[in-house]
Amino acid sequence: MTHNPVLRVMAKLMIPFILLFALYVQFHGDFGPGGGFQAGVIFGAGLILYGLVFGVETALKVFSPTILRIGIAVGVLLYATVGLAGIALNGKYLNYNVLAHDPVHGQHLGILLVELGVFITVASVMMTIFFAFAGRKS
């Protein structure tokens, strides 16, 4: 597949928009359909497309195995840390009301950070799974 010019050109055109759309889904998730799970999967799918068309080795140069491994852990840790921040600010675990002066702002901040954690983990895991399977082939 790596030598098909139609696929290469179309993938080059589409991948930036797929990644941008993933970020839109991520940060617009409070107001419309979307959130960390969907955005992570779409972001992962965009880079999986890159890996399919340009080869897994090229894709692994963009997101190296080390970055992916760190990403998998950082997402969960970010989620858990937001919970601990609630305790540190005299609240309860995963209660976002205390994160800002105003409970509603605190909820906004908490949801944003938690969804970001979900996004990082889901996107990294999806890419990892694909690269692990595809890297086995050659």
Partner: protein, 180 residues
């Protein structure tokens, strides 16, 4: 109109699922499972679950199908005809299905607003979410805030599954063609 679309889509789903049980070419089965996921994503839109439809379309029709085909490239695409009996599994399946259909007879009708599932916490979430969190998308609010513990657990499951795949298959360490 929505009921009609629902009716047709569910019929398609049943046909696709039954075709998948019959086919022996695993490549065709993987493609049908992609179609199955896409159909269920459309069905979720009809049933008002836009967030779920979004996820199912990206995961089921996209990533799962790619993974299935990636696996088939490594394991072979033709299922062998095994000498095992098919009558006993068929009887078990028919019996279980009949028991489950008998169980559904007590369920509230589809779309019934008075069903018990709509009476407990759902009205509270729908009423309080805009006031307490200022987030209009109730699904996001419940996912990340009210049910934050659940989602933390789910994220940990995904983390663990990712680790498991790295342990089983390795990632970027082995030389190509090398075995374990």
């Amino acid at each position: 109109m929505a009921e009609f679309v629902d009716f047709i889509l569910l019929g398609f789903l049943a046909v696709v699922a039954l075709a998948m049980t019959r086919l022996r070419n695993l490549f065709a089965v993987a493609m049908l499972s992609g179609i199955y996921s896409l159909l269920s994503a459309v069905l979720f839109v009809v049933l008002d679950a836009v967030d779920v439809a979004f996820t199912e379309a990206a995961v089921g029709a996209g990533i799962t199908t790619v993974l299935m085909i990636g696996t088939l490239a490594l394991t072979g695409t033709e299922e062998k005809i095994s000498g095992r009996h098919t009558m006993i599994p068929l009887l078990i399946v028919l019996f279980t299905g009949a028991a489950l259909i008998y169980g559904t007879l007590d369920m509230p009708a589809f779309e019934d607003p008075q069903a018990p599932v709509h009476q407990h916490v759902a009205p509270k979430y729908l009423r309080d979410t805009p006031i307490e969190t200022g987030v209009p998308n109730v699904v996001t609010a419940v996912l990340a805030s009210y049910r934050g513990y659940d989602t933390l657990g789910e994220t940990t499951v995904i983390f663990t599954a990712g680790l498991g795949v790295i342990i089983l298959l390795g990632l970027g360490q082995r030389k190509p063609g090398g075995t374990a």
